[in-house]
Amino acid sequence: MKEQIDAYTKRAIDHHDDGATGEYYRLLRETKKFHTTKCPKCEHTAYPPRPFCPACFHDEVDWVDISGEATLYAFTTQSRALRFVAPDVIGIVEVPGVGRIATKINAKLSDLKIGQKVRFEPFEVSDELVVHSYTPVG
């Protein structure tokens, strides 16, 4: 079942690739770092990454590494865990200068607190797919 889900996920990501998606997942897979796009004209950092700037519509972007520390803004579990093993803890983390990002949290729900520091960690869903996740610091 996992193989099927992984295959369908890969297919959906490829199908919806806008030019930025493929590069985003390649960078995660090959560098194990979390990158997104930044506008060279107005300096707006966008997440999710885009092949253009959603702040000024400039049509070229640079890739920047945003791996590092973030702050836990909210968290919960999903009863309908599909891709990750239940209990599937997800959260929203504040990445400085970027935004609030939905991610997987590598911890038990009962150990988490709003406002605590978390750190980026690559999570290997399969050989082909690496995604971002966050782990509490300390």
Binding site: P48, A74, F75, T76, T77, I90, I92, A102
Partner: protein, 415 residues
């Protein structure tokens, strides 16, 4: 309706139609809300259309506009649904549209129809919406494919990896922030559900007509912490229809009707998740901005309202909306307003007399039109068993995403 005067100063004698008609609701129908469907979605659309025209006392041949919404979440290819429905119903029209935008779907369908009436392009416009949730549990492969790819189709190739196609966890985190920032307890959320179930017990079409208790709500299974099952809207099937004409035409019918007084809208550049650091997850600026426009254009405020139907799909969301739409004094005071009896019969205004999305039920695409039907019942005095005495002004609210977009409509009773 905001009146736009057409002033022709060109000096020519060309006749220009005056695009300033006021819009009236003269026919309404709502199906009972149920978990599972009891007829095909196509038949539902037809039965709703028939009942709506019957309520208006209008013949099919008099209808010259049709606005519909897509036929629910469906395993089949569905395109050109408007044309299909027009043929199925046997209606020739001057205007035919299908409108879709998540939870705001049928609010935007009503708005599109009202615009056409206001502009004088159509005389009698039927708006019909029904929703059902297709179940694919018996087809494992299809379920896996849908589960894996629909998230990415719906939430994007990034967030879709983490968040299921069902938005419960997103609303749960919004609720967690609300409870954290304003010191709101689980018990207060449960008290809201008890209050809404009491409202629903007065509505014969509601999905949950049995009252509940705080203990029962808190004891129901956790869906996504802090939300328990009974704090969430159910999966529902149902639909509604509305027939619009001009106020001038409506007056000829010689019975009470409802005037659509204004529309307000706001759609922020966010979808489900709070990505911008400057966006608040506990103050819904779409609801604030859309309601402000609707209030300003109608020339009324929240204190003038007698009744409202709002899109509170989870208990914390409903409380936040009381605050953002102006029904509760300040942020964090939604639960207090419920406890004080200000939002029920005998209070300041009655909010969600049907029981709202949590107790009345929530066939999402059709929900805004079901809200409109309830307000029209209240304003013409036909909300049997739950009538708000002397109701004159009403409001409906609909949203999409996690309150990323809102549509607010105001209504006035006309004799």
């Amino acid at each position: 309706m905001h009146r736009i005067r057409c002033i022709c100063r060109s000096g020519s004698n060309r006749k220009v139609s005056n695009p300033s008609e006021e819009v009236a609701i003269v026919g309404i129908h709502a199906t009972p809300i149920t978990k599972k469907r009891n007829r095909s979605i196509r038949e539902s659309f037809a039965r709703i259309a028939i009942a709506t025209l019957k309520d208006a006392g209008v013949e099919p041949k008099e209808v010259d506009g049709l606005v519909t919404t897509p036929p629910g979440i469906n395993p089949d290819l569905v395109i050109m649904y408007g044309a299909f429905l027009g043929k199925y119903l046997g209606l020739d029209t001057r205007m035919l549209q299908v409108i879709e935008n998540g939870g705001a779907t049928s609010a935007l369908a009503l708005r599109a129809a009202a615009n056409e009436i206001a502009l004088g392009r159509v005389k009698r416009c039927l708006v019909v919406s029904a929703d059902e949730r297709y179940r694919m549990n018996d087809d494992m492969d299809q379920m896996l494919r849908f589960g894996a790819s629909a998230n990415i189709g719906l939430q994007g190739s990034y967030d879709g990896i983490y968040v299921g196609g069902f938005p419960v966890p997103i609303y749960a985190m919004s609720g967690q922030r609300y409870m954290h920032e304003y010191d709101v307890s689980s018990k207060e959320l449960a008290e809201l559900v008890v209050h809404l179930r009491n409202h629903a017990s007065r509505h014969p079409g509601a999905q949950f007509q049995k009252p509940t208790t705080v203990e029962e709500v808190l004891g129901s299974p956790i869906q996504s912490a802090p939300l328990t099952l009974h704090m969430c809207c159910p999966v529902s099937t149902g639909g509604a229809g509305v027939l619009l004409t001009t106020v001038t035409e409506a007056k000829k019918l010689g019975r009470p009707f409802t005037r659509i007084a204004s529309f307000g809208g706001y759609h922020e550049a966010e979808h489900f998740l709070p990505v911008s650091l400057d966006r608040d997850f506990t103050t819904y600026r779409s609801a604030i901005n859309a309601s402000k426009q609707a209030y300003d254009m109608a020339g009324v405020g929240p204190k003038d309202l007698d009744v409202a139907e709002i899109y509170g799909v989870y208990a914390p969301t409903e409380l936040m909306l009381y605050e953002d739409l102006g029904f509760a004094a300040e942020k964090g005071s939604g639960a207090q307003a419920v406890r004080d009896g200000r939002l029920t019969h005998g209070g300041d205004l009655v909010v969600n007399p049907t029981g709202g999305r949590i107790a009345y039920g929530h066939p999402a695409a059709a929900t805004p039109l079901l809200e409109t039907v309830e307000i029209a019942h209240q304003l013409r005095g036909t909300a049997t068993g739950r009538q708000v005495d002397g109701a004159r002004w009403g409001l409906t609210h609909a949203e999409h995403g996690c309150l990323n977009g809102s549509v607010v409509t105001t209504y006035e009773a006309m004799a």
